[in-house]
């Protein structure tokens, strides 16, 4: 489908470099973890996880995100989606561990909320560079226990989410959902692999997207050839065994780039 016109209804500054854009119309029947293609007209179209059924939460990193940051309430952008496969929802009584690093908290927040509504017990590990960068701490707090790590130690454990994870009994959780910078995700992956719990873990990957709908092949990962945009972005740990995760990704030309 062609991009729909989405009007910005509200902009929330989450941290100096991260803003949430609420838009109208929102989506119905969202699978938490799904993404949209956000078209900043005249500039670029980029993938963004949905942080709610009517919001995206964006870190300013380059041209398109900077242009997005120039938009005001009442402005609009184009929106295609939601696309891809989200996280698997727990059932009542299950215990889940949510591991979010940086803007990785964006797609995980609606997931944690949906899990809570489904009657699961939610424990979140939330990591960021510094206190001010912790994303959606309040939203996660409202759902259950939150363990915080910051690189600079300004809040919670000084270090990485893995430093918290190491000390947990991962066997106690029914599901583990992970999203964050790739370095972080691959550390988590290795740790969960060592503990033999990959089959209950899910990871949301980022790759360069062109079509976003599973046709062009730009986002395929090795060795499976799975498409991040359509077969993912959420993959089970088992799907990622022996994969390129943490090793390399491909740029817009298809060239391999070391992580």
């Amino acid at each position: 489908m062609l991009p729909l016109n989405a009007t910005i209804t509200q902009i929330t500054e989450e941290s100096p470099m991260v803003r949430t854009f609420f838009f109208d119309p929102g989506f119905e029947g969202l699978e938490p973890g799904q993404f949209v293609m956000v078209w900043i007209r005249g500039v670029d179209e980029i993938p963004m996880g949905l942080s709610r059924n009517n919001s995206i939460t964006v870190q300013k990193v380059g041209e398109a995100t900077s242009k997005l940051f120039e938009l005001k309430e009442g402005d609009s952008f184009g929106l295609r989606g939601p696309f891809g496969k989200g996280f698997t929802l727990p059932v009542k009584g299950e215990k889940i561990l949510v591991i979010a690093g940086g803007v990785g908290a964006a797609p995980l927040s609606p997931y944690a909320e949906a899990a809570f509504v489904a009657g699961a017990e939610v424990h979140t590990i939330l990591g960021a560079r510094s206190t001010g960068d912790l994303l959606f701490e309040g939203r996660f707090d409202a759902l259950g226990k939150v363990s915080v790590s910051t690189d600079d130690g300004s809040k919670g454990v000084k270090g990485f989410v893995t430093d918290i994870l190491k000390s947990l009994d991962v066997a106690a959780y029914d599901r583990i959902a992970v999203c964050g910078p790739e370095i972080m995700m691959s550390s988590v992956f290795r740790l969960l692999e060592e503990r033999h719990v990959l089959e209950k873990a899910e990871f949301s990957l980022h790759r360069y997207f062109k079509c976003g709908i599973g046709v062009c092949g730009a986002c395929c990962i090795d060795q499976s050839g799975l498409r991040v945009c359509k077969d993912g972005p959420v993959f089970t740990g088992v799907q990622l065994i022996g994969s390129e995760l943490g090793k390399y990704s491909r740029d817009a030309s298809g060239r391999r780039v070391k992580i």
Partner: protein
């Protein structure tokens, strides 16, 4: 087993160029899980290209519009992908290549030879890459020269992929044949465009692009039909095929095999499905061999 320009295919369905063909692993997946009888890579050129800015592909009511802009890591960058595909897929792997002139085509073909592609497909038909593709492919002399240049440097079959954006595709097909092509592939996408009326912006990053999918099937069938009358070499049909019925239609128009691109949107294993559907059709109608229906429409008068 089915033979096409000397290549052995387990069924006559082939992954079209530029679709799920950026990585070796992806090509292998389409062969293995998808059931394709052969796979064609993304078109590879002489230098790395990131392609056009996004949106680079959108789905329409009827079909798809894309302007990828031939993104590719260049032939040196693609060698490892091609090697992976060759080593890990059990089906023929065809390298799609492009260039701005005969010398560039030859350079890219030679540069990929070490990975032993089973054939080359020359993209002289992409409608949205300035100086490449259709810019070459609407000029019969250039098509002949490009084909001959690649034939000169390789020992494997050479297919030439044609654009429908010409007044008469037969003249281009004939040029390819004269240049020594072992087969032609028709069609690449039709020039097309969509505009976002809320903003007035053309939807594609490149403003315009190429139409594929269901919308173009009748155009592709007509091109294949016309080429079949004009050429001695096999015609490979592509454009809008998303079911075994579509494939049979294309074969009856004259296609010796079919390629499928956009329809992987629906399912990656569309190739198995089409292959099985063709088999069942031949059986139901009592045709001993697919050859019996290649070009059948030409006989029905």
């Amino acid at each position: 087993m089915y033979t096409l320009t000397g290549l052995k295919l387990k069924n006559p369905t082939i992954l079209a160029a530029g679709v799920l063909g950026t990585t070796g692993a992806s090509l292998c997946r389409v062969a293995r899980e998808g059931g394709a009888g052969a796979v064609v890579t993304k078109s590879i050129g002489p230098a790395p290209k990131t392609g056009h800015s996004n949106p680079s592909m959108v789905r329409l009511d009827c079909g798809f519009l894309n302007a990828m802009g031939l993104p590719n890591p260049s032939y040196p960058g693609f060698l490892q992908e091609l090697e992976f595909a060759k080593n890990n897929s059990s089906v023929p792997v065809i390298a799609s290549i492009f260039g701005g002139n005969p010398a560039e085509f030859a350079e890219v073909a030679e540069g990929l030879l070490s990975a032993n592609p089973d054939a080359f497909e020359l993209n002289v038909s992409c409608p949205h890459a300035e100086g490449y593709g259709a810019a070459v492919g609407s000029n019969p002399c250039l098509v002949e020269a490009v084909t001959a240049a690649v034939k000169d440097v390789v020992n494997v079959p050479v297919w030439v992929k044609l654009t429908p954006n010409v007044a008469d595709i037969r003249s281009i097909g004939t040029a390819a044949e004269s240049g020594g092509a072992d087969a032609v592939v028709a069609i690449n996408t039709l020039k097309g465009m969509a505009i976002d009326i809320e903003s007035g912006y053309p939807v594609l990053g490149n403003r315009s692009g190429g139409l594929s999918g269901k919308a173009v099937k009748p155009v592709a069938v007509k091109c294949v039909y016309d080429l079949y009358t004009a050429l001695e070499i096999p015609v490979i049909g592509v454009g809008g095929i998303s079911s075994w019925e579509d494939a049979v239609e294309m074969i009856m128009a004259g296609a010796a095999a079919v390629q499928v691109g956009s329809a992987v949107y629906d399912r990656v294993d569309i190739f198995s499905e089409i292959g099985a559907g063709i088999e069942a059709f031949l059986e139901r109608k009592g045709y001993s061999d697919i050859k019996k229906i290649i070009g059948l429409a030409h006989e029905m008068v």
